[in-house]
């Protein structure tokens, strides 16, 4: 692919992301309990996977397709925004997030386009390992990927490290873990709540291939996914992002929720 074509492709991803960000903010306006900050930090990662990389969504068997697990389930508005762009979720349904007859506040597998129910942090990587092992049994692990997206706050959960060891021990190379390193968790900056240590060293010590990227840079991020394809072992992408990315006042504060009067112009 030549430089111009790549530039056009990247510009298209930015356009998709702009539309998706507006959707996230609209969801945050109609329902203030929505986690806008975390959704905006992870959004470019989802756009890159869905529209830069492409996911094979169905196969004859569940091991003949790609999987995406949003382990940091509170960022589900970003997933809905991307699924709306893909035409999987009708645009008008977004307004009904968290309504009794609307979209769930955390990923639920009964929603089309959502592979796995999450919401309770720390479980996605273990689930990904089980799916990847089933792919190995069915001989499909080199054709399909299991993407699992975690938050940096989520790494407090001990189960993440149980699973990190399992994935590495079994050499489950179809697993691609992505940590949305936005620096915040519910009660504040991640380091203020609990020491995270040297993230790259923690994963590397368990045998993972570690790639660090700017999580808002599509070119870098997609290159990391290509590197994961040929790593021959499980890869974690530490994607450094900004909570509230694209929404100036939220980005500055590192906040999670938005006041409708601040967001009005952004949603138009």
């Amino acid at each position: 692919m030549g430089g111009d074509a790549l530039g056009i492709r990247l510009e298209r991803l930015h356009e998709i992301a702009r539309r998706a960000r507006r959707r996230v903010v609209r969801m945050g306006v109609v329902e203030r309990s929505v986690h806008v900050g975390a959704s905006l930090s992870v959004l470019d990662i989802l756009v890159a996977i869905y529209f830069g990389r492409g996911l094979r969504r169905s196969g004859e068997k569940p091991t003949e397709r790609d999987w995406l697990i949003l382990s940091k389930g509170h960022a589900v508005p970003a997933l809905y925004a991307v699924l709306a762009e893909a035409g999987v979720i009708p645009e008008e349904k977004l307004e009904k997030i968290r309504a009794i007859d609307g979209l769930e506040g955390h990923p639920d597998f009964t929603t089309s386009g959502v592979d796995v129910s999450t919401g309770s942090l720390g479980q996605g990587l273990s689930i990904a390992a089980g799916i990847a092992y089933a792919m190995r049994l069915d001989g499909t692990e080199d054709r399909h990927r299991v993407y699992v997206i975690l938050g940096d706050g989520e790494l407090d959960e001990g189960q993440v490290w149980e699973a990190a060891a399992t994935v590495s021990h079994l050499g489950l190379r179809s697993v691609v873990a992505i940590v949305d390193v936005n620096g915040f968790q519910l009660d504040g900056p991640v380091e203020a709540v609990k020491t995270k240590g040297d993230l790259a060293a923690r994963w590397r010590s368990l045998g993972w291939s570690v790639i660090e990227v700017d999580g808002h840079d599509y070119e870098m991020f997609l290159e990391a996914l290509r590197a994961a394809d040929v790593a021959g072992r499980p890869t974690v992408v530490l994607a450094y992002t900004r909570r509230g990315k694209g929404l100036g006042f939220l980005e500055a504060s590192g906040g999670q929720h938005i006041d409708p009067k601040h967001a009005g112009s952004f949603t138009e």
Binding site: K61, P62, T63, W67, F109, D115, V116, S117, G119, S120, G122, Q123, S126, I127, A128, A129, G130, I131, A132, Y133, A134, M135, L137, D138, G158, Q159, E162, A163, A165, T166, H169, L170
Partner: protein, 322 residues
Amino acid sequence: MQGASPSSPGGLGTIRDAVGKALLYLGDADPDVVVVTADVARSTRTAWFGERFPERFVNIGISEQDLVDFAAGLALAGKRPYAAAFAMFMMRAWEQIRNTVDRMRLDVKLVATHSGFSDHGDGASHQSLEDIALMRVLHNMTVVVPADPPQAYKALVRVHEQVRGPVYFRVGRDYSPLVTDPGAEYRLGRLEILRDGSDVALVSAGPLLAQVLEAARMLGERGVSAAVANLHTVKPLDEEGLERLARATGLVVVVEEHLPRGGLFGAVAEALAQRYPAPVYPVAARGYGHSARSVLDLYREHGLLAEQIARRVLELLAGREG
């Protein structure tokens, strides 16, 4: 190691051995069966499966939460996983079981060994006296507590054939005298009457049924006609069968290797309170256990030996007359 035939299992050994052999049978019968365990392969007898089907066996290490969600992933991807651990430590993953396995109604079979007081030597940290309550409250969970080795074998095979969803399969360790007819068909969800009687109904499950049957025999010598029911399926509960028992006897005593809250006693009392309010009493663990050289020593300490059960039933009957 050969898997016995499901119709006439013989030479099964202890109840955990029977589970290990049933898994061998299932491994042969269904290529989608995958067994996972948490560094208790030999103790749970799943090592036998691992020897015969090494590709379909994963030892996750000492990490029960990962164990349960790994099994969930296998089930999402079309496999039929069995996750084996000590009952007590499976409970460490209750939230994973609730939020991932049960909420998505995944076809994950939780094989919990060393339940109740059966891990007598290891003491209270290893003895599960709360697990039936914790599993029974889950919306989609099937809960099975087989009585003896042949029933454990047949029940596991039947569960595999009949249930596409989460199952908690609770067995003990070694103490497991034969109490059922090895040739009898296993009927999931149906109360099994081991002994007829008209004065009192003794309802129990698991290896403790050996003590309960002996208690009923002792009561017979005292002129008390005691029915004994094997409540091997705790959920879904055979409410009709329980109502019939309550109507026939007027007094139900639930004997269990579990604390008296939320387990078999809870299940039976909840059902009868709605269908046919009859007096229901527990004979259950009195608190945490501790180490003992024999499970029978713990039974004695908690009033679960046959003569103690019989004495308690006589007290209850006398109280009702008085």
